[in-house]
Symmetry: C2
Subunit: 762 residues, 2 copies
C-alpha cells in the first residue's frame, strides 16, 4: 500500500517545537495523490489565484457518458502522473468536482507545438515530463523542472496575481503557450466564449467564459511579460464563424492583436540566452480586464519574483501563527500545519482590489464594507471549518457572512448559498448550510455583520417551499421519499439547520423584533423533525412516503437509492447533532446507543459497498464509520453523550493516527475545502464542535503536547496535554484555568476569554 | 411596376406649408419594401431602442451556404410579407447587412405555442397574419392588428426603452412570448449565451450575447409588465448542458426564475378580459441588467403608454423642426421629412442614463463629458450624413467625434472606427472614413472635442501599416492589385481621406504642434495618390501590380473582380472629390470630362451587370450612374467643375424626382443609415458637400420653394427658390444675402452666420 511510504520532507531538528518558521512544516503535496484532491501549487491564504501545475486534462465525457476518471483530477494534479500540461490559475482544494483550471500557461523551448499532447507521448505536444525529484512546494511557492523543455518553472502568487518565473536553461527559441481551451477537465461546450487582446508587447488581456459546474462563469485576466514579446499568434479551433465578412482581409493567426471564439490557443515567442529568466505576472478579476490590470498594478507592479515569494511566505507565517503547537513528533507537526494550510485555502477572495465583484445576478457590485468571498462548499464546511474560523478567523467569518448575505440579496431564489462559486450557485449537495454558519456566528457573538439582516435571510431561506422537498417538509414534518432520492438525509439536515435558526433566535431574543418566541418555537419544532423519519422497527432512519408509510425495500448498508446521499442508514441515522440526548432516547437509551456506535466502528463492510460509492474508500473508513466523507464527522464525539467518553478519546485518536498521514496519499478522503483538515485541527487541540450553532465544544483526546491559540482579541488560549504520549490516549482529568472541569465540553466564551486548558493524559 | 403605386397617406391640406406638426409628413413605411431596408417601428431620434415588427426570421445559411434571402431582411421587415413574427428592440436603418433583432416579444391569445411558425402557416406557431389596412406608423409610434390572435399591438419608445401596449380584444388566455433565439436572421451558433431572471412577477431581466457581424456583442435588458405574471416558463432548446448535477432536482421549465443557455424561449401567461390592455416596458443597456433597470426607472418609470408616445412625438417635432420647408407638393414634403427622419435614426445612443457604456475593449467606460454613440456606417455616411450633421446637429457631431475617439482609445489596433456597432468593430467596407468626419468637424470649427487628440487619432489611423494594403500604399503610392481585390477603390478612398487630414492640418496650423507643414505636406502628397492608379490608355482608374504594371484583363463595367468594391471603373474613376480639377485634367480637360459624365448618365448597361451586383438595382441607376449605392453620390455635382452647372442642376433634379418616391418601395437603394436621405436633404436645399473636409457646398437645383434652417447658434439660414416649379430645374441666378453670387458654391461659415440664399429658377 502506497500510503505506507511516507513522503520525505526535510524537517529541521527543531521541527516539532514552536518556531517563527511555521511554513517549513507545511507539505503542500499531502493529499495530492488519489483521494485528497489537493493541489501543490502557489497561493496565499484565501487567495483568488491558486497557481498550480495540471498533470493532465481529462475529457468529462467519453462516448457520451460521464468519464469517471475526471474525479481524480478535481485539483488538476495527481501525484502519480509523470507529465505536466501547464500551470493554470484557479483550483479548488479538496473538492469532489471541479470547474476551474483557467488560463493555462506553459513555457516550451524549441519547436512550437499548440496541442497539449498526451501523457503517454508528451513529446507530441507542449506538455513535459517531470520528476518529483526536481519538484518543490511550500506555502506560496512551487517549482519543477520541465524536462522535455529544459526549463525550470517557479510559481508564486499574491491574492489576485500568479507570478511565473521560467528559467530557459538551454536558451534558444522559447514559447509561452496560453491555452484558453484548457480546463481541469473539458468538454466540447465547456468554453462559451473567450476573448483576447495583445494590448502591447508586454501585456495581454482577455477572459474565459464557461458553462460548467457554474452555469455562467467568466474569469478576466491580464498577463504581463517581463520581456517584450517578439512574435505571437493565435490558433482558433472554434467552428468557423458564420459571419466573417471583411475579417477575411486579415491574417488573424500571426501578429493580429485580437482574438475571440470558443476555442483558442495562443503562443508568445521569445529568443533566449542560456539561463535567461522570463517572469510572467497573471492577474485575475471577476469584473473585467480593466479590473485585472488594476489588480496587477496594485499587487504585483513589477516582475519581482523573489519579493512576491517572500510576501507570500510572510502572509502564510502570519496565518499559521494563529495556532502554535508542540506535537509528539514531526509527522504530527507537518500534519497539523498542513491541515491549517489547507483550512486557509477556502473560501477564496472574490473581488478586485477596488472591492468590486460580479454578483449572482451577473451585475457588478461593490463590497465596500467587507471583503467578498466565494467557493462555499457548505455541505462540507459548516461542520468544522467555519466553526474553526469563529475561533481563529473572526474577521473573516464576518466577511464570509457578509458575502453570503450579498449572495442572498442577489439571489432570484431568495436563498443563501448552497454550493456557490464565482458568482454562481451550483446547488451541489443538500440542506441550507449557510444557516448553521450564520447562526453559529450570531450565537458566538461574532461582530461585523448585520444580525437582523442575517437572521431574516436564514428564515427566508428555510421557508423556500420550492426548494428540494422543503414545502413537503414544512407540511409533513419530513421530506417524503417521492420528493427526492435523498429524503432522509435532507430531512435530517434541514432539522439540524432549523435548530440553528432556533438557537440564533434565542441568542437574539429581545434584540430583534423578528426573533420572537414564536419564531424560535417554530424552528425548534422543526428541529425535532428527525423523529419523523425514525423507524423504531429497524432502529434506523428510513425513507417515508408522503402518506406516512416507511419504504418497504430498505438496505441499511447501501449508500445508493436508500434515501441517503453519500452515506448509508448506519451513518446518517446518527445525524442528529442538535439533540444527541433525543437520539439516544429513541435509539433505546445509552447502552443500546453505545452498542450501536461500537458496531459502527467495528463491523465489516462487503466489497459491494466500495464499488458503488464514489466519495468513500476503504482508506477512509473504520468499520462502517466513514471519516473520508463528512456526514459522520461528529460521530466519534457522540460517545461523550452516552457516558463513554473514553471511547470518544480512543476513536478520535485512532482517526488522527490512521486517517491523516504526512504523505501525498495521506488524506483518507477529499479535503473538501478544508473540512477534513478542520476536523483534524480541532481534534488535535482536544475539542470539537459537534453542533455548530451552539457555543459548546466537546472534549476528545488532544494530539498536541501544547498549543497556543493566538486570538484576534489579543487573548491567547493554551492547551496542554500533561503526560502526553503515543499510547496515552485517555484523559484522566481536565483543568480549565487551574480548576478541575466537571464536564465534557468547553464553551466558545471560555476560549475567547483566553486561558489554559490542561488535559492530564494516561 | 409596384413603385408606380404611390403609398397612400393622409396629408392634411396644409401639407406642403410650414406647420408645427411636422411628424405628420413622415411616412416610416418609405423604404420598407425591397431595397430601402428601413423599418417602420417606433424609435426616438438617435434612440438606442428601435422597436419594430419583424415579418420573418431567415436562416443565414442554407445547405452550408449564404442564403441570399437574408439581404432583404436587414431591417427585419419587408412590406410584401403577410405575417409578423413579433416585435424586437434593435434594428439598423437602411444597412446592407444586419446583426440585431434582439429581445423579441410577441403577444398571443389562446393555446401556447413556442415556435415562430412559418410565413405559409402562421397558425402553426406564435406568429400572426396582418394586413397593412390595420397598420399605422408615425415617428415614435407603430400599431398593427395581429389577426390570428385578435390583438391590437401598439409600440412606442424612449431613447432606451421600448413600450408595448397590447389590447387583447377577445380576452381569454394571453401569453407574451419572449424569444431569445430570434434575430433579424439566424444561424446555429449566433447566440453565444443568453441569461434570464424573473426578478418578481412584473420584472424580468437578462441578456443576449451573440457572435455575428459584431463578433462579441451583448445586449442587456429589463422587461416590466403592467400586470403581474400569473405563470411563466422557459423552453431551453440548447444542447443538454454537460454538467447538470443537482440542477436535475428542479423543474426548470415552469416557474423556475432563472434560465441560461444559448437557445431559450420564454412565455409569460395572463388571464385577460375582452379589451384588456397589458403594457410592457423593455429597457436595454450596453452595460448590465442593473443598467437596464436604471434606464427603465429613469425613462419610463410607469406604464404610461400615451405619455411616452407623446414625448416621442415631441422629440421628433423638435428634431424635424431644425429645417422647415415649403415644397412644390405634398409628396415632396413627405419625402423631405421622411428623409430627415431617416437621417436622424443613426448613429444610435450607446450608453446608460448614467453615461456608462461597454467599450471596444469589452470594459465598462463612462462617457462623463459626452453622449456616446454607436452604429457608424462610415463608408456610407461620411459623404453627406455627417456633413449634414455639421450644419444641423453640431452638438451631436461633437459627441459623435468624442465617441469615435473613445473607440480609438479602446482600439487595440489603434484605429478609428471603420464600421462599428455595439462595442465591436466589424471592419465592413474600406477606407478610414472616420477621418473625413473628424477632419470636416475640425475644418468647420465644430466645438466640443479635443482637436489635438482628434488630429493625432486621424494621423495614427492613416499610418496603420497592417491595415488593408496601407503599408503598400504608403510605400508604393497605391494599393497593389495583389494586396486586395478592391485595390483601386481602396487607393482612391485612402487618397481622399488623406486629403482630409491635410485639410485639418491646414486648419490647425499654428494651433497644434503636430499639425505642422511637413505633416500637411505628407498627407497632401498622399491625397494625390489617385494619380497612381490612373490608366491614361483606357481613361479609367485601373488595378496595378506591386511592380507597377496595370492589370491586363480589365472590364470597365463589371463590379466584380476588377479592383473595385460595390462599383465599377466607370463610377469609381470619378472618385476624386478632393481634386476635381486634377481629375478633369488627367481625363483630358473639361470637354472630355463632360463627355465622360454624359456617357455615364446615358449609357445602357447589360443585364449581366445587375445579376452580379447585390447592392445595385435597375431602380437605383440612371444609365451607368448608380444612385442606389454611395461611391457616385458626388458625381452629379462634378459638372459644376467643368463649366456645365446646368447639367448638375438637371441630373440632381432628375435624381430627386425619380429615385425618391413616397412609397414603401420608393427608395432606389439601401438608405444606409441615412446617407441616401442626407443626399436628398442637401440636394433639395440646393447645395451638397462634394468633399467633406472642405467648407464648400456645391450648388445644385433646389427642390424646396422655401426652407428655413434653424441653427443651434440661434441663427437661421433661409433658402428661397424664386419661380420654383416642376419644370423649372435650372438656376438663372443666385443671391446670397441680397448680393449676386458669382460662384457655384457657398461656404459653411456663410450658412452658420445665418442669411438668405435665393435661387432664381427658370
Amino acid at each position: 500500500m502506497k500510503r505506507s511510504f511516507l513522503f520525505l520532507i526535510l524537517i529541521p531538528v527543531l521541527a516539532h517545537g514552536q518556531d517563527d518558521n511555521l511554513t517549513q512544516f507545511v507539505n503542500p503535496f499531502i493529499g495530492t495523490d488519489r483521494m485528497g484532491h489537493t493541489y501543490p501549487g502557489a497561493t496565499v491564504p484565501f487567495g483568488m489565484v491558486q497557481l498550480s501545475p495540471d498533470t493532465d486534462t481529462i475529457p468529462y465525457e467519453t462516448g457520451g457518458k460521464y468519464n469517471p476518471d475526471v474525479y481524480r483530477y478535481c485539483a488538476g494534479y495527481q501525484y502519480d502522473d509523470n507529465t505536466i500540461v501547464g500551470f493554470s490559475h484557479t483550483h479548488f482544494s479538496g473538492t469532489g468536482h471541479s470547474d476551474l483550471g483557467d488560463i493555462l500557461l506553459m513555457p516550451t523551448a524549441g519547436k512550437l507545438q499548440l496541442n497539449p499532447g498526451t501523457a503517454d507521448a508528451p513529446e507530441k505536444g507542449y506538455r513535459s515530463g517531470f520528476s518529483h525529484d526536481t519538484e518543490m512546494a511550500s506555502p506560496g511557492y512551487y517549482a519543477v523542472t520541465l524536462e522535455d523543455h529544459n526549463i525550470r518553472a517557479e510559481l508564486t502568487a499574491t491574492t489576485r496575481v500568479g507570478v511565473h518565473r521560467y528559467t530557459f536553461t538551454g536558451g534558444g527559441d522559447a514559447h509561452i503557450i496560453l491555452d484558453m481551451m484548457h480546463g481541469i477537465y473539458n468538454y466540447e461546450s465547456k468554453n462559451v466564449w473567450t476573448f483576447l487582446r495583445v494590448e502591447n508587447d508586454t501585456l495581454v488581456t482577455g477572459y474565459r467564459q464557461t458553462n460548467g459546474w457554474a452555469r455562467t462563469r467568466t474569469v478576466y485576466f491580464a498577463i504581463a511579460f517581463s520581456k517584450p514579446v517578439e512574435s505571437y499568434g493565435f490558433a482558433n479551433f472554434s467552428p468557423a464563424q458564420v459571419y466573417r465578412g471583411f475579417w477575411r482581409r486579415f491574417d488573424q493567426r500571426t501578429g493580429f492583436p485580437e482574438a475571440a471564439g470558443a476555442k483558442i490557443r495562443g503562443h508568445f515567442d521569445f529568443s533566449t540566452i542560456p539561463g535567461e529568466q522570463i517572469t510572467i505576472r497573471v492577474a485575475l478579476s471577476p469584473v473585467s480586464t480593466a479590473g485585472a490590470v488594476d489588480n496587477l498594478t496594485a499587487e504585483a507592479p513589477s516582475s519581482d519574483f523573489e519579493g512576491t515569494r517572500e510576501a507570500a511566505r510572510v502572509a502564510w507565517e502570519k496565518e499559521l501563527g494563529r495556532v502554535r503547537v508542540k506535537m509528539m513528533n514531526s509527522d504530527q507537526t507537518v500534519n497539523f500545519y498542513t491541515a491549517l494550510y489547507h483550512a486557509f485555502l477556502s473560501p477564496t477572495v472574490y473581488a478586485d482590489t477596488d472591492k468590486r465583484y460580479k454578483g449572482l445576478d451577473q451585475n457588478i457590485h461593490s463590497a465596500a464594507a467587507f471583503d467578498n468571498y466565494t467557493t462555499f462548499s457548505l455541505w462540507d464546511t459548516y461542520r468544522a471549518l467555519h466553526p474553526l474560523f469563529t475561533v481563529i478567523q473572526q474577521k473573516r467569518t464576518a466577511d464570509i457572512v457578509n458575502s453570503m448575505l450579498a449572495h442572498y440579496d442577489q439571489s432570484v431564489h431568495h436563498m443563501l448559498p448552497v454550493w456557490s462559486h464565482y458568482a454562481n450557485e451550483n446547488w451541489c449537495m443538500i440542506g441550507y448550510h449557510a444557516v448553521p454558519v450564520i447562526a453559529d456566528a450570531i450565537v458566538k457573538g461574532i461582530s461585523g455583520f448585520d444580525y437582523t439582516r442575517a437572521f431574516e435571510a436564514c428564515v427566508t431561506t428555510a421557508r423556500n417551499g420550492w426548494y428540494d422537498g422543503l414545502d413537503d417538509y414544512m407540511h409533513l414534518g419530513y421530506v417524503p421519499d417521492e420528493s427526492t432520492g435523498s429524503s432522509v438525509s435532507v430531512t435530517l439536515e434541514y432539522a439540524f439547520d432549523d435548530w440553528c435558526i432556533a438557537k440564533a433566535a434565542g441568542a437574539l431574543r429581545g434584540k430583534l423584533i423578528n426573533a420572537d418566541t414564536s419564531l424560535a418555537g417554530e424552528f425548534l419544532r422543526r428541529s425535532q423533525n428527525y423523529r419523523n423519519v425514525w423507524d423504531a422497527s429497524t432502529g434506523f432512519m428510513r425513507p417515508r412516503s408522503a402518506v406516512g408509510g416507511f419504504r418497504k425495500e430498505f438496505d441499511v448498508l447501501s449508500t445508493h437509492g436508500q434515501g441517503f446521499i453519500e452515506g448509508n442508514a448506519w451513518n446518517y441515522s446518527l445525524y442528529v447533532p442538535q439533540d444527541p440526548d433525543g437520539l439516544i432516547s429513541i435509539m433505546g437509551g445509552k447502552k443500546r446507543f453505545v452498542e450501536h456506535l461500537d458496531s459502527l466502528f467495528t463491523m465489516d463492510l462487503p466489497d459491494s459497498y466500495f464499488a458503488e460509492t464514489e466519495d468513500i474508500t476503504r482508506e477512509g473508513i473504520i468499520g462502517n464509520y466513514v471519516h473520508g466523507n463528512e456526514p459522520s464527522h461528529h460521530v466519534p464525539y457522540l460517545y461523550n453523550y452516552a457516558g463513554e467518553s473514553r471511547k470518544t478519546q480512543y476513536w478520535v485518536r485512532q482517526i488522527m493516527d490512521t486517517k491523516y498521514l504526512p504523505a501525498p496519499d495521506g488524506l483518507s478522503g477529499n479535503d473538501d475545502c478544508g473540512q477534513m483538515s478542520a476536523w483534524y485541527i480541532f481534534s488535535a487541540l482536544g475539542f470539537y464542535p459537534v453542533a455548530p450553532g451552539s457555543v459548546r465544544y466537546d472534549l476528545g483526546s488532544p494530539l498536541v503536547t501544547e498549543a497556543v491559540i493566538n486570538l484576534e482579541n489579543g487573548n491567547s488560549f493554551t492547551v496542554t496535554a500533561v503526560n502526553q504520549g503515543p499510547g496515552n490516549v485517555y484523559v484522566k482529568k481536565v483543568e480549565l484555568n487551574g480548576k478541575k472541569l466537571d464536564r465534557l465540553w468547553i464553551t466558545h466564551d471560555e476560549i475567547m476569554q483566553g486561558g489554559k486548558l490542561v488535559f492530564y493524559m494516561k
